[in-house]
């Protein structure tokens, strides 16, 4: 017989082993679904792998997809560190996209436009995140619920915008006017879609890591998240820390939207995010809220997304498998986290 026993410390290699374990478990669990759909498991995963990481072009496509999830993953990781339960990265991303599209459509020199787009997008995301944080600090409103519900509010506001004032009067499609060509983010490798925003995302991760680990703000975020009472007695303004965290988190999620507008779509439409905000939660959990871990976790999910489409074309397994893999990965990771607090022991061998 086996049982769980509390452990007093967690070995460092768990940080790497647990996500890998969760991913392996996910692939094993999902292979059952592939088999049910009548396709070969190894073949399907093979197609997924080749299509997402098999050659340099595929890798650039995966990175382009990973970029917004790096930002939303960082947004969630920062928020969760402070136990500000920001489930609203999706809405913050959309707000960032709208704001940057608005700025990007104003004629001005390219570099200035890009800078202002980033600032506007970050500010919009931050403003949205400030709502649930303020409600929590002021009125003790549950931030999970308020940040989640706000996603729908922002989404419908965006729809109202592109169905209304922004609607393309020529084609009648519900899409915003495009941003200025000069505001398009430069492509870094000719013939691919790898844009400047991807590099910014890759640089943001170590910067956020530095902020969390090496700055007094990061210290206050960590302490507030782990024990707000001790933080308060220690002279930390817990409310102020929560609001700062929300601003930072929302700004990061907003930047995800900026990258999609400036580097991928150059305009706003209703499906500009296939749930990158929600994927950010999976990314952050897989990364164990470590900003550096967010990069590989986002690349993994991006590979699953790009790979699943190719697999669907090649083997007939529905591309929804990508969503199933994401969900399973989150659950597997939550189960794996149990092992940070408990160990499995064989019992019954005692005479």
């Amino acid at each position: 017989m086996f049982r769980l026993e509390a452990r007093s410390s967690t070995p460092a290699w768990f940080n790497l082993a647990l996500p890998l374990l969760a991913i392996v478990a996910t692939l094993v669990l999902c292979s059952g679904l592939i088999a049910l759909a009548g396709a070969g498991v190894l073949e399907s995963y093979g197609v997924m792998f080749t299509a997402s990481l098999g050659d340099s072009y595929a890798i650039t496509e995966t990175l382009v997809r990973a970029a917004p999830m790096i930002f939303t993953g960082l947004a969630v990781a920062v928020a969760f560190r402070a136990k500000f339960w920001n489930i609203g990265a999706e809405g913050q991303l959309l707000a960032g996209a709208v704001a940057s599209c608005f700025v990007g459509a104003i004629p001005m020199p390219g570099p200035l436009a890009m800078l202002l787009m980033a600032l506007a997008g970050a500010a919009a995301g931050a403003a949205v995140a400030l709502v649930p944080a303020t409600l929590r600090v002021r009125f003790k409103v549950d931030d999970v619920v308020s940040s989640l519900l706000l996603n729908s509010v922002i989404y419908y506001a965006l729809m109202a915008l592109i169905e209304g004032p922004w609607k393309d009067s020529f084609s009648g499609y519900p899409i915003s006017p495009p941003i200025e060509d000069s505001a398009n983010f430069p492509v870094l490798i000719e013939g691919t879609r790898l844009h400047l925003g991807v590099v910014v995302a890759l640089v943001a991760a170590p910067l956020i890591w530095f902020l969390i680990v090496r700055t007094t703000l990061g210290f206050r975020i960590r302490v507030t998240g782990e024990n707000p009472e001790a933080a308060r007695y220690g002279g930390i303004h817990v409310e102020r820390v929560l609001l700062s965290t929300a601003l930072l988190s929302g700004a990061l999620a907003g930047l995800a939207g900026v990258g999609e507008v400036g580097g991928v779509h150059f305009q706003v439409m209703s499906d500009i995010s296939p749930g990158y905000g929600y994927s950010g939660i999976v990314v952050a959990m897989l990364a164990r809220l470590n900003p550096l871990g967010v990069v590989p976790a986002a690349i993994f999910l991006a590979a699953v997304m790009t790979g699943a489409e190719a697999m669907s074309r090649a083997t007939g397994v529905p591309a929804f498998l990508s969503d199933v893999i994401q969900g399973t990965a989150l659950l597997a990771m939550l189960v794996a986290l149990l092992f940070t607090a408990y160990r499995i022991r064989r019992v019954g061998a005692v005479s």
Binding site: M1, R3, E5, S8, S9, R214, T215, T216, L217, G218, F219, R220, R222, V223, E226, N227, E229, A230, A231, R232, Y233, G234, G235, I236, R345, V347, G348, A349, V350, S351
Partner: protein
């Protein structure tokens, strides 16, 4: 003597490199109250967890009424008649007393047997004098009542052996008497009891025999605790003699803390009503009183987490204006909280983080918003060495440390910055004699250096040893203040009940 109820033979258990128990032998007879003694970390809880099936021993065996038993889960233990009241209770706060008793007890045809439960509860209450209102939710019970419920829960499941892990650490002195009379009546009716406590006077008053653990091994046994001195038992526990610290004459200096007519709202717990007191440099002022008479509000006001409605407070001659923790700390206040785990440390983060928490924004540990990780680490390492804090290093999770070591860490973090005033609540609650003595010595050393100390406590003997003056709180007021030369347990006790009127 009848056949032993429980016998543990050669029980050994390691956690990594730590040998928590090594070849431990322990016997409890029916009707016997066995004291289990040892310093913090001696392995008492581990041993009891093995008996209760929470840990599997690495070696050794357990005999129940002479028969080898295999206990691999708490369900096995309960089935074998072993009940345990843990240091931290395992109750469902939203459920009622009766519902908590019935959890996990199969009723007839899947339904809860309410009538049967009530009858059994009434029987247990009558038998041992343990009364509880079956329909109150657990969240409405006091700590003492919750403990009573844990005991009743074990008896409800037919326990013949009851394990109590430091039950008196959470009780007020008046509640201890009630617990003891219940335990005595259980023993009189043939139950075996294992009683863990650091308070040797309790052990001497209650137990029939004692087993003493030191570093996981049995250091000795005491066959007649009532006629053994506390000093002799303490020596068995620590392996060396414990000398009480000597408090020299006090030479009080300037006022370092002054409260003048402080009143608070009844926000949580008892409010303060017109409290005035003075602590001078180089003296220790005790605050005695039955807990719940405003001590918490007093500590909160002095710590700067709660602003009073009326009155003034000054630290080292400076008026406190905003009542924020940062402000009082900047004026020279240090603080050792009552509740180490909730308001003191961050259990999930490295110990070093907790040790610098209140001063993270100062030049010692950060500059321009950037931490100085090397300075933080060096500070923690230095204090770990200076205070002999037993831990693997500054980066270990704070929560992995024992209570005594956590208390030393908190002490180190406050004393390192030479506070002018130190406010301390229940400084040695849950600590063993050696650790308590160490803490007392540090306070006396600070006093000699001219620090003013205010100690909030329930243990009158401790206050009498430590303090120059003792003020008694009653219903949010200072009921009276005695110089400790004039104070006796009896006089203080009288003040604590409000008998001498308002001083």
């Amino acid at each position: 003597m009848s056949a032993p109820l429980i016998e543990m033979r050669g029980v050994t258990k390691s956690f990594g490199a730590v040998k928590a128990n090594e070849a431990v032998e322990l016997i409890v007879a029916p009707g016997e109250i066995l004291g289990l003694l040892g310093e913090n970390g001696a392995g008492k809880t581990t041993l009891m967890n093995i008996l209760f099936g929470a840990y599997a021993p690495d070696a050794g065996e357990i005999l129940i009424q002479g028969q080898p038993a295999r206990i691999t889960s708490s369900a096995d233990a309960l089935a074998a008649g072993i009940g345990m009241v843990h240091q931290h209770f395992h109750l469902a706060p939203r459920l009622t007393v009766l519902e908590n008793l019935l959890i996990g007890i199969p009723g007839r045809s899947g339904r809860i047997d309410r009538a049967g439960g009530l009858a059994r509860l009434a029987e247990i209450s009558r038998q041992y004098g343990l009364t509880l209102d079956p329909d109150l939710p657990v969240s409405a019970l006091s700590v003492g009542e919750q403990q009573r419920l844990e005991i009743v829960k074990a008896l409800f499941r037919g326990a013949k052996l009851l394990i109590l892990d430091e039950p008196t650490a959470v009780l007020a002195p008046s509640e201890v008497d009630g617990l003891f009379s219940a335990l005595r009546s259980m023993a009189a009716q043939g139950l075996g009891i294992i009683f863990i406590s650091h308070k040797l006077n309790e052990v001497r008053a209650l137990t029939h025999r004692c087993t003493v653990l030191r570093h996981g091994r049995v250091a000795g046994r005491v066959d007649d605790p009532a006629n053994t001195t506390s000093a002799a038992m303490a020596e068995l526990m620590c392996g060396h003699e414990i000398v009480p610290p000597a408090r020299g004459p006090s030479t009080p200096g300037a006022e370092v803390l002054k409260l003048d007519g402080i009143s608070t709202s009844k926000h949580s717990g008892t409010a303060l009503r017109d409290v005035s007191l003075v602590v001078r440099a180089g003296e220790i002022l005790g605050i005695a009183g039955v807990s719940g008479n405003g001590q918490r509000a007093l500590a909160e006001v002095i710590s700067g987490v709660r602003a009073p409605n009326a009155g003034r407070m000054a630290i080292a001659g400076h008026d406190v204006a905003r009542f924020s923790p940062r402000e009082v700390q900047a004026l020279g206040l240090g603080r050792i909280p009552e509740d180490r785990m909730t308001t003191g440390l961050v259990t999930n983060l490295p110990l070093a983080d907790s040790m610098v928490l209140p001063r993270i924004g100062t030049a010692a540990f950060s500059a321009k918003g950037l931490l100085k990780p090397d300075a933080i680490r060096a500070f923690a390492e230095e204090q770990i060495k200076a205070y002999d804090i037993r831990c693997p290093g500054p980066m270990v999770r704070a929560g992995a440390l024992s209570g005594g070591n956590l208390q030393k860490a908190l002490l180190a973090r406050e004393l390192a910055f030479d506070p002018k005033v130190l406010i301390v609540s229940q400084p040695t609650r849950g600590l063993d004699i050696g650790a308590a003595r160490f803490i007392h010595e540090k306070f006396l050393a600070m006093r000699a250096k001219g620090c003013g100390i205010i100690v909030i406590g329930e243990d009158l003997e401790e206050l009498l040893v430590l303090c120059d003056r003792i003020a008694v709180m009653y219903e949010g007021r200072i009921a009276g203040t005695l110089a400790s030369a004039d104070a006796t347990v009896a006089r203080l006790g009288l003040l604590m009940t409000g008998a001498e009127g308002h001083g």
